[in-house]
């Protein structure tokens, strides 16, 4: 009896410490919170706000198209409205909502206290909010982008035809893409390294598989667009002729870079929503998913094949039929894993007893709509059909069937399903049914007729149309349907607002689901889980009786916060064996400040206010350095700690065992992809020109690139030497090596500068010169960042934060330098050696 009593007292003391450590800041300091539960909700609300905004734009577009020769809005405003509608739905809603939902759900699903880089999540959110508001707000100043969401040159590169809106699009969205990549890094490391002990990779919830695949796709899909944005902006601001045929450029390169991003992006949007269905369908069928391996196949297969589709947006650009054949083949092949996915859901429903609740209603509606959109997708994947349907409303109908069936409806299903998870209250089933039927019928009334308007030849993106082509009544029906759908969405909004205050309090695990996120407590505890459980099933809440009590009573891992620090468990990638206790940073305004200053840099650049942009950039980098200095890789007060259940784990790990190393590696994979896209540009120009470099080109020669490569690679070698010396305890040598390395890297930058400045290359004259400049500048910036990192390591060593035993900083910097050395070697080989080979 007294044992029980003392155990209870101990548990209460532990709970009090945990509660204190994980408490949210109060008052205005609330906005310094970095906990995933706060950031996830802000993210979702913001993305949903942008969705409603973009939805209103769609209603304006539909109102304008209701009758022929309508003059409700001006052509200029119409162009801005449809461009911003597409842009916002894609960049400010569909992709961010995935990140938002994943940041909110993933830690709880993994019974982790938080993701490994909470401040990075917060930084990503603030970037998203600032960049998104900037892009969306531009329409109130008649300055929104107006060239279509894909910004094709030469229309969008022409400053007379496309005003500042194009710059707002390019810089505002580039800023947000940084946030997307940050989220991708966070989510990949989260899924691989933050699972609870025992949750081997074949036991993790299917949602995690999708998150892993989608985050990986972001790493390969977004960087080509960032590379394209750089080229585009250089042309708009400095007249470098990347897309100008008169000076050797080619607008089709933009289309390649845009769609290498743009098509995978469709699947980046689609897969996370399907992932929500993979959680919902088993719950409401009350059976495990049928064919776990098949879903893994579907996620992996779709993730890969979706990259082979980009040119199917370019069937009418005059590519050779053979090239079209490859893309057509991949476009048809991707239907296989997509179909598998849908059959798995149907099979799961068939084996269980389906409870037709509101989430299930939306899920079923999503399947029906998506299958329809998929079938028209198979049609437009065939080049001869696409030549007929290209740029007509048929394509508008197709893409809305896939996106609304594949993304929006599953997401609303997820909203109804996870609302009690996030708010502890239930949405109304009655309003939910009304909303579903209005959205479902409204959607079909809007978009089904567009197949026919399209087949009757009505082009996309037209401001108005003449009467008598058989388009009139079809358009009127579409407009009518759009407003019915809008009423449905409005009901969802009303229900959400109502339920926040007056919704029925949700019981714990209201749907009797089997996965760990439903261990979430009904009280407002902020710690995620009271203690981390040992997992032995794919559906622990169904198969492991007593699990929730064990967690609640603090009998799992990490039941305490004895050191007064936020902590979470790091486990192995395959078998989730506990490896380390990771200290997590606490609430801070630094991510917000970094986002504000970096945002200032991007926004000022839009208006060509160079001094402000430079100041914003420098202060932003300073804030980030301060954030790293105070928040990361601090040597702990002890080497090991008691993680509960008799397990003692290290508090510090460096190299491939540390989460920071993984994050660096993943970030640099994305970075390398952007670089490869720039190199692709060089060789693309080589293919379209009879002679490339052009015969009149003078630079950059062999000498300067050779010197740049030699000094830069020597800098890399010194970093490796510094890492080695530091590890071996020869700290002084390590510091000297870091100083020498910084000097060598600066010499390499200078040689690179000489290569473009002293050899007669002029980036305004010809695309060859401009491409060489871009490659050299890209490399120089990486070397400069490398210098900053070397000096940072030096300072850390001098301050005693980096020691032979505690060497996270230098190991991550060495990893960075591997990639930078690769970038340098490739750049110099391309600009120095390739002209010899091709000449």
């Amino acid at each position: 009896m007294s044992d029980d009593l003392s155990r209870n007292t101990l548990a209460e003391a532990q709970a009090a410490r945990l509660r204190h450590v994980w408490a949210n800041p109060r008052g205005w300091r609330y906005w310094s919170a970095v906990n995933n539960t706060e950031v996830g909700i802000w993210y979702i609300v913001t993305a949903f706000g942008f969705f409603l905004f973009a939805g209103v734009l769609a209603l304006i577009v539909r109102a304008q198209l209701a009758v022929p020769q309508n003059d409700l809005v001006s052509p200029e405003f119409y162009n801005q409205a449809f461009t911003l509608h597409g842009t916002m739905m894609m960049f400010l809603f569909a992709v961010p909502i995935f990140e938002a939902v994943a940041i909110l759900l993933l830690p709880q699903m993994l019974a982790a206290r938080d993701l490994p880089f909470p401040r990075l999540s917060a930084f990503g959110f603030w970037c998203f909010l600032i960049g998104g508001t900037f892009v969306a707000g531009s329409i109130f100043f008649d300055a929104a982008p107006a060239s279509g969401w894909f910004m094709y040159p030469p229309l969008a590169t022409n400053k007379d035809l496309a005003g500042i809106g194009a710059d707002i699009w390019l810089l505002g969205l580039s800023f947000i893409e940084v946030a997307s990549i940050a989220a991708a890094v966070e989510l990949i490391v989260g899924v691989l390294k933050c699972r609870p002990p025992g949750m081997r990779i074949h036991l993790m919830p299917l949602y995690c598989w999708y998150v892993l695949i989608v985050a990986g796709m972001i790493l390969f899909a977004f960087p080509p667009l960032i590379a394209g944005d750089i080229l585009f902006e250089l042309q708009r601001m400095f007249d470098w002729p990347f897309f100008d045929p008169d000076r050797g450029g080619d607008p089709v390169l933009w289309q390649h870079l845009f769609w290498i991003f743009g098509h995978p992006e469709v699947y980046i949007i689609f897969l996370p929503s399907i992932a929500l269905m993979a959680m919902i369908v088993p719950t409401f069928s009350q059976v495990p998913i049928t064919g776990y391996g098949w879903i893994v196949l579907a996620a992996v297969g779709t993730g890969f094949l979706s990259f082979g589709l980009w040119a199917h947006h370019m069937y009418t650009t005059g590519l050779p039929a053979l090239s079209l054949g490859f893309f057509s083949a991949a476009s048809e092949a991707v239907a296989i894993p997509t179909g598998v996915q849908i059959f798995v859901f149907i099979a799961t429903m068939a084996t269980g007893r389906v409870i037709f609740s509101v989430p299930m209603l939306f899920a079923a509606g999503a399947l029906a709509v998506f299958v329809f959109g998929g079938l028209t997708g198979v049609m437009v994947a065939l080049a001869p059909f696409d030549w007929q349907a290209h740029d007509t409303h048929f394509v508008v109908a197709h893409l809305h069937y896939t996106l609304i069936g594949g993304m929006l409806l599953p997401l609303i299903a997820g909203l109804y399903y996870f609302f009690p998870f996030a708010t502890k209250r239930m949405l109304s089933a009655r309003l939910g049914r009304w909303a579903f039927w209005l959205i479902f019928t409204g959607f079909n009334i809007t978009f089904l007729p567009m197949h026919f308007t399209g087949l009757r030849g009505m082009p996309r993106r037209v401001f108005t149309y003449p009467a008598g082509h058989g388009w009139d009544w079809l358009n009127l029906i579409s407009t009518f349907g759009a407003y019915i759908m809008a009423i449905g969405v409005l009901i969802v909004v009303v229900d959400v607002v109502r339920a926040l205050r007056h919704g029925r309090p949700a019981p714990r695990n209201p749907w009797n689901a089997g996965t760990l996120e439903w261990t979430v407590e009904t009280s407002d505890e902020n710690w995620g889980v009271r203690s981390v459980p040992q997992i032995s099933s794919r559906y622990p809440l169904w198969d492991q009786p007593g699990l929730v009590e064990e967690m609640d009573q603090g009998r799992g891992y990490l039941p305490d916060a004895a050191a007064g620090r936020r902590e979470t468990l790091i486990t192995g990638v395959l078998d989730a064996t506990p490896e380390q206790v990771q200290r997590l940073p606490t609430n801070s305004f630094r991510p917000l400040a970094a986002a504000v200053f970096i945002g200032t840099c991007f926004i000022a650049a839009t208006f060509e206010w160079w001094w402000l942009a430079t100041a914003g950039g420098i202060i932003g980098i300073g804030v980030i350095l301060g954030w790293l200095w105070t928040g990361t890789a601090r040597p702990p007060e002890a080497a090991m700690m008691d993680a509960g259940r008799g397990l003692t784990l290290p508090l510090y790990a460096s190299g491939p065992r540390s989460v920071g190393w993984w994050a660096m590696c993943i970030t640099m994979v994305g970075d390398a992809t952007a670089f490869i896209s720039l190199v692709f540009g060089y060789f693309f120009y080589w293919t379209i020109h009879a002679e490339f470099p052009p015969p009149e080109a003078t630079g950059p020669g062999l000498a300067w690139p050779g010197i740049a490569a030699a000094t830069g690679l020597a800098a890399w070698a010194t970093v490796l030497a510094a890492r080695h010396a530091n590890r071996a305890g020869r700290v002084a040598i390590a510091r000297l090596a870091l100083i020498a390395g910084a000097g060598l890297a600066i010499a390499s930058i200078a040689a690179g500068a000489a290569a473009i400045l002293t050899t007669g290359l002029d980036p305004v004259v010809h695309v060859y010169d401009a491409t060489v400049w871009v490659l050299v500048i890209w490399t120089a910036l990486h070397l400069a960042a490398g210098v900053l990192m070397q000096l940072y390591c030096l300072a850390r060593s001098l301050a005693g934060h980096m020691t032979p035993l505690h060497d996270i900083d230098i190991r991550n910097v060495a990893l960075y330098w591997h990639f930078t050395a690769g970038t340098l070697a490739v750049t110099m080989a391309v600009i120095g050696l390739f002209p010899l080979a091709s000449g």
């Binding site: 025992g198 081997r200 990779i201 074949h202 036991l203 495990p288 064919g291 776990y292 391996g293 098949w294 893994v296 196949l297 992996v300 297969g301 993730g303 890969f304 094949l305 990259f307 082979g308 590519l319 050779p320 039929a321 053979l322 090239s323 079209l324 054949g325 490859f326 893309f327 057509s328 083949a329 991949a330 048809e332 092949a333 296989i336 894993p337 997992i535 032995s536 099933s537 794919r538 990638v573 395959l574 078998d575 293919t687 379209i688």
Partner: protein, 120 residues
């Protein structure tokens, strides 16, 4: 991965579709350059045929290794026991399916080169 057939990991899972991606890029880039530069397409098509054959052989070997990982019929799906063996079987099963899809996708990509003989 073929040299370490005792392990089923994320790398072995992603290997077959990576081969598809490499094959796809090879075929696309070769054809694009040949058509832009006016190279002989006959040679390029032979190279693509050889690359297709090589990719298919690799995928078949990967599928065989994956099938071995599934433990044949020793254990039937859903492979959800909390053991290393079960993990290996599940990863093997998923890899086998991914390899099958990659096989089909590589064949799909090879077909245009088999049938289209010029750059129109």
């Amino acid at each position: 991965m073929l040299t370490r057939p005792d392990r089923a990991t994320i790398v072995t899972l992603l290997a077959p579709p990576t081969v598809w991606a490499l094959h796809f890029l090879t075929a696309y880039i070769l054809a694009a350059i040949a058509c832009a530069k006016g190279w002989d397409l006959g040679g390029v098509r032979l190279v693509i045929a050889a690359a297709t054959a090589a990719a298919l052989v690799f995928i078949v070997l990967a599928a065989r290794a994956a099938h071995r990982h599934t433990g044949f019929t020793a254990d039937t799906p859903p492979h959800d026991d909390p053991t290393r063996a079960s993990r290996m079987r599940q990863m093997g099963a998923a890899t086998f399916l991914v390899a099958a899809l990659s096989f089909v996708a590589v064949v799909f990509t090879g077909l245009p080169a088999a049938f289209i003989a010029d750059c129109r």
